[in-house]
Symmetry: C2
Subunit: 148 residues, 2 copies
C-alpha cells in the first residue's frame, strides 16, 4: 500500500529525527526539508553534541538543504519541524525565503510567534501537525531530566 | 606605545574581518568575541562562499567562541560586530547568553531592534562604535554592486 506523502507523512519523518536527538541526550527536535515531494535534508538538534547553541534542527536542515540544492534560497521547499521555531530559527527561515513552514507542537514560551519574529512575507505557515506526539516527546524529555 | 584595548580597538578588529569579507565578494560584516580582554574568535560573513543564509559573521563567531571555550554559553564574553545583528543572529545571541553586544552601524531595516527580537535579559548592548566606518563599508559595497 502506498503511503500518501501528506503533512502527516513528512512530520512523521521529522519526528523520527527528534527520536534520534532524544537517544543522544539532546532536546528532541527534528526537521526535514522537502522539495518537489522528496526529502532533501534531515536534521535534528545537536546543541549538546556540538556544544553550540546555534545547532538547532532547523539551522542544520537549512544548511543541508541549501547544500543539496546548490543555492542559498529554499523558495520551492517546505520545512517540517516538530517544534515551533525559536527567534533564531525563524530569522534563518526569513533569510531562506522558504515557501512553507509546517511545525508540530507550539512553543508558547520561546516560539517565534510569541517572541514576535517575522518570517518572509512569502512563507506560508501551518502549525499543530502531529502536535500531540511532538509535545509528548518534549514533556517526556524534560520530565526525565528533572528526575535525574 | 601600547594601544588601549577599548571598544574602538576591538571594533577595529571586527572591521578588519569585514574587509576580508569584502575582498571575497561578501556583504562586509565582521565580528570578534572577547573573553578576559583577549580575542577568542574572529569571523566574517560567508553566506556567498558557503551558499548558506545562516553563515552570518555572528553565527560563525558564536560557534568558534564556544569551540574555544569548550562550553555553549558566552556568559563572560563580549561580541563585537560591525553591523547591528539581524533577527537570526540576535536570536542566537539570546541563546548564547553573551554578556555584552557591541555593534557598529545601525540597521534600521533588518536590525533586531526594528524587528523586535529579544536578547537575553543579562546582555548589555552598546551601538554606534566606529559607526561611520562600518556604515561606509556597507554603502560602498552596495554602491559597487549596483554599478555592476
Amino acid at each position: 500500500m502506498l503511503v500518501p506523502r501528506d503533512h502527516q507523512y513528512f512530520m512523521k519523518q521529522a519526528l523520527d529525527q527528534a527520536h534520534i536527538a532524544l537517544e543522544r541526550g539532546e532536546i528532541p527536535v527534528g526537521a526535514v526539508v522537502v522539495s518537489n515531494g522528496q526529502i532533501i535534508a534531515r536534521a535534528h538538534n545537536l546543541t549538546e553534541t556540538l556544544t553550540d547553541v546555534t545547532a538547532h534542527a532547523e539551522i542544520q536542515a537549512i544548511t543541508a538543504a541549501a547544500n543539496f540544492l546548490g543555492g542559498k534560497y529554499l523558495n520551492n521547499c517546505q520545512l517540517y519541524v516538530t517544534l515551533e521555531p525559536c527567534q533564531m530559527c525563524a530569522g534563518a527561515l526569513y533569510w531562506s525565503q522558504v515557501s512553507e513552514l509546517i511545525f508540530g507542537a507550539y512553543d508558547a514560551k520561546r516560539g517565534y510567534q510569541t517572541m514576535g519574529t517575522q518570517l518572509h512575507p512569502k512563507t506560508k505557515v501551518i502549525g499543530g501537525i502531529l502536535e500531540e506526539e511532538a509535545s509528548q516527546l518534549m514533556s517526556d524529555f524534560f520530565q526525565s531530566k528533572r528526575k535525574k
